[in-house]
């Protein structure tokens, strides 16, 4: 079964490559004719293939559009391919095809940290640079990972946001996902430290768990407001939690009296930002993430950086970036979404 499908896949790829080689030839011919004098840079001509987790996902539509803008501004060719469903090995065939086409760089959000590793290393042997973003592979399979946010950055921006909204004094609570979610607990610990160190008048009275379920999060919010009548603010570092909490708040007599912030997506939060339940919430900007990945790919292709720790490069209007441990580049502080900018985003 697998051998047959693998064989047919190989045949398919071979046929595709042949076809592409033919069309590629004609294209190359016209290119060289048009470019003429630019022979020196022609070797390092930038062609970047974006491979999102799946197509038709508004989040990746936004991030890849950011990447497209940057690639085209750098004079490169941009393309986006990917599976319909986010399955672990669904990206392999697209990686193989892009490698056969000798794309100069791949920008991938990995569906699985290992399943696409061999395909990526194969591509890298052929000279293609590999940048992962949003979701990383194991470090040995890529040249760089563009990390959207650091735990410290996320925790800090949420604490700063809520304390600013409640005037830096009063009771607050946290609505988390599940009690054993590693990343959530790491963020909550950082928030507790930040609160203790920098906001002595703000008291964290409760941490409740909505299990990333609409209904549970909603009911837990109701219980929080009942249990703590003096509550002034809620932080929900989970997209499901903040939307459910906003839904409850928007229909309760605490609307406007209890501040709510956390990590959310514009589509889920649009309603509540517009009706005044939520002032501001945070996440990274996927367009910037895609853009930075494109700049990083360009820097790798042109040989400005090799991806080792300490390398620095400039990413246009996004600023200067430095490669950190594990060949990782951090996008920076989370992005604040509010009534003024939420309509620019559709993910």
């Amino acid at each position: 079964m697998t051998s047959i499908s693998r064989r047919s896949a190989v045949l398919g790829v071979a046929a595709l490559t042949a076809g592409l080689a033919l069309t590629g030839c004609t294209k190359a011919a016209t290119d060289s004719g048009a470019a003429g004098t630019g022979a020196a840079t022609a070797a390092a001509k930038l062609s970047v293939v974006f491979i999102p987790k799946n197509l038709g996902n508004p989040y990746f539509d936004t991030s890849d559009a950011g990447g497209k803008k940057v690639v085209e501004s750098l004079g490169g060719t941009y393309s986006e391919v990917g599976p319909q469903q986010a399955s672990p090995d669904g990206q392999v065939q697209y990686i193989n095809t892009a490698a056969q086409q000798r794309a100069s760089a791949l920008v991938v959000s990995a569906n699985d940290p290992k399943a696409i590793g061999d395909a990526l290393n194969q591509a890298r042997k052929g000279g293609t640079k590999v940048v992962t973003f949003d979701s990383d592979t194991d470090p040995q399979y890529r040249d760089l990972f563009i990390n959207q946010a650091s735990p410290d950055g996320l925790a800090k921006v949420e604490v700063d946001g809520i304390t600013k909204q409640i005037g830096d004094s009063g009771e607050i609570a946290i609505l988390s996902a599940s009690a054993n979610a590693t990343n959530q607990n790491a963020w909550i610990d950082l928030m507790k430290k930040d609160l203790a160190a920098n906001h002595p008048n703000v008291k964290l009275v409760d941490v409740v768990y909505g299990n990333d379920d609409d209904q549970t999060s909603f009911d837990k919010t109701a219980a929080l407001l009942q249990t703590h009548p003096n509550l002034k603010g809620i932080i929900s570092p989970t997209t499901v939690g903040i939307a459910a909490a906003a839904r409850y708040l928007s229909t309760s007599d605490k609307k406007g009296k209890v501040a709510l912030t956390g990590l959310g997506t514009p589509n889920q939060m649009r309603e509540y930002v517009k009706n005044g339940t939520v002032n501001e919430f945070y996440l990274w900007n996927p367009a910037d993430l895609g853009g930075l990945a494109a700049y990083a790919a360009d820097a790798l292709v042109k040989g400005k950086i090799t991806g080792k720790e300490g390398d620095t490069f400039t990413a246009g209007e996004l600023g200067d970036f430095k490669v950190g441990a594990n060949q990782t580049v951090l996008l920076g502080d989370p992005f604040a979404f509010n009534a003024g900018n939420i309509d620019q985003f559709t993910f």
Partner: protein, 369 residues
């Protein structure tokens, strides 16, 4: 199987000859001849001794305790609204589940049916803007009823235990939602404001969704209590073989119980969308167990044949209200689930104790000369 103390006709009582035994104790006499009391006393006694009454008392105690601790639990406008609104969806599910359990079956697929119709609700509003809200409610009930029909056909015709069949359809229906919705979700901004405001709208301080739940409860309760076909649900649950021998149309009744449960789960799905305003593919996961728990706490015997939907509805309100009140009383999150479990166990133990006492008394009454 186990005749409840008060509300069941005493079908299994052996021929009693009341007038002949002056020596029997008054309690035993009452057991075999309840009509020796005046009708008014019988109603009052029946009410006081009923399971429903004891659940109501527990419920009132919980509400009182929470209100003493924090007056806004009952006395603020949001508190009063939430007290009635939060259990509305589970009441609808529990009523359907009770009807199925009374026939000695169970419907585990209601959570998946709810998820499917909740997502359907969102999709209908997105794909057909301007669709009247009534049509969406009708669609939810219809699709839920169809899914219930599938359950009913499999259970009634294939003669496989409902536990297994509906466990299967639980996964199948959930699979349909997962492949349909994928990672997408319905957001509040996708739903029309009129529909969303239905989630919290009130008439004379009573939430509309609670009124919907009460209407469902009233209709089903009246049917099961008075209609001949409604009484047959109990007969089937008491002894399915006897019901067949007696000539009851067991298949049709079981089928209609599942259609009812499915349709009500469909209604609950639309209610879910209106209340929570956002629907993902895992909406309603696990709620089937809450529905079964509400029914059991409400005094419906898990092996069918006894109990009422009134009890199931009270069980649903108690379950939801306890969950809301416990954090307020300072019980940590982690202990709340254990307390709900203890509640279910004590309800079942109480069931067994009452049933054993009843049958012992019946035996005593029979053995007397």
């Amino acid at each position: 199987m186990t005749p409840a103390p008060t509300q069941e006709p005493t079908v299994s009582v052996p021929d009693a000859q009341p007038g002949i035994q002056p020596a029997v104790t008054s309690e035993t006499q009452l057991l075999v001849e309840p009509s020796s009391l005046s009708p008014r006393r019988r109603i009052v006694q029946g009410l006081l001794r009923s399971r429903e009454f004891s659940i109501l008392v527990v419920l009132l105690l919980v509400v009182a305790a929470a209100t003493i601790k924090n007056p806004s639990f009952l006395l603020s406008s949001s508190g009063w609204r939430d007290l009635l609104l939060t259990p509305s969806m589970l009441i609808v599910l529990a009523v359907g589940q009770a009807a199925v359990i009374i026939t000695r079956n169970v419907d585990l697929s209601v959570g998946s049916v709810l998820g499917l119709t909740a997502y359907l609700t969102g999709r209908l509003f997105i794909d057909h803007p301007g669709l009247p809200i009534v049509a969406v409610f009708a669609a939810g009930i219809l699709v839920g009823g169809l899914l219930g029909l599938v359950n009913g056909l499999l259970v009634a015709l294939a003669r496989v235990p409902a536990l297994v069949i509906t466990l299967g359809t639980l996964y199948i229906y959930r699979g349909i939602v997962l492949s349909w919705a994928g990672s997408s979700r319905i957001n509040a901004s996708d739903l029309p404001p009129d529909f969303l405001s239905l989630g919290t709208a009130q008439v004379l301080t009573i939430p509309v969704l609670f009124i919907v739940a009460l209407a469902v409860l009233g209709a089903v309760g009246y049917y099961l209590y008075t209609a001949r076909s409604g009484r047959e649900f109990y007969a089937i649950g008491s002894d399915p073989d006897a019901a067949v021998l007696y000539g009851l149309n067991v298949r049709r009744r079981v089928l209609s119980a599942f259609v009812l449960s499915g349709a009500l789960a469909g209604l609950a799905g639309v209610v879910f969308a209106a209340r929570y305003g956002s629907v993902s593919s895992d909406a309603g996961t696990g709620i089937e167990l809450q529905a079964v728990a509400a029914v059991v706490i409400g005094g419906v015997a898990i092996f069918g044949g006894s109990g009422t939907v009134w009890g199931a509805a009270l069980g649903a309100v108690l379950l939801v209200t306890i969950n809301r009140a416990l954090p307020m009383l300072g019980i940590p999150d982690f202990w709340q689930q254990a307390l709900v479990g203890a509640l279910i166990l004590s309800a079942i133990v109480l069931d067994r104790v009452l049933a054993a006492r009843q049958s012992r008394r019946l035996v005593e009454a029979r053995d007397l000369p």
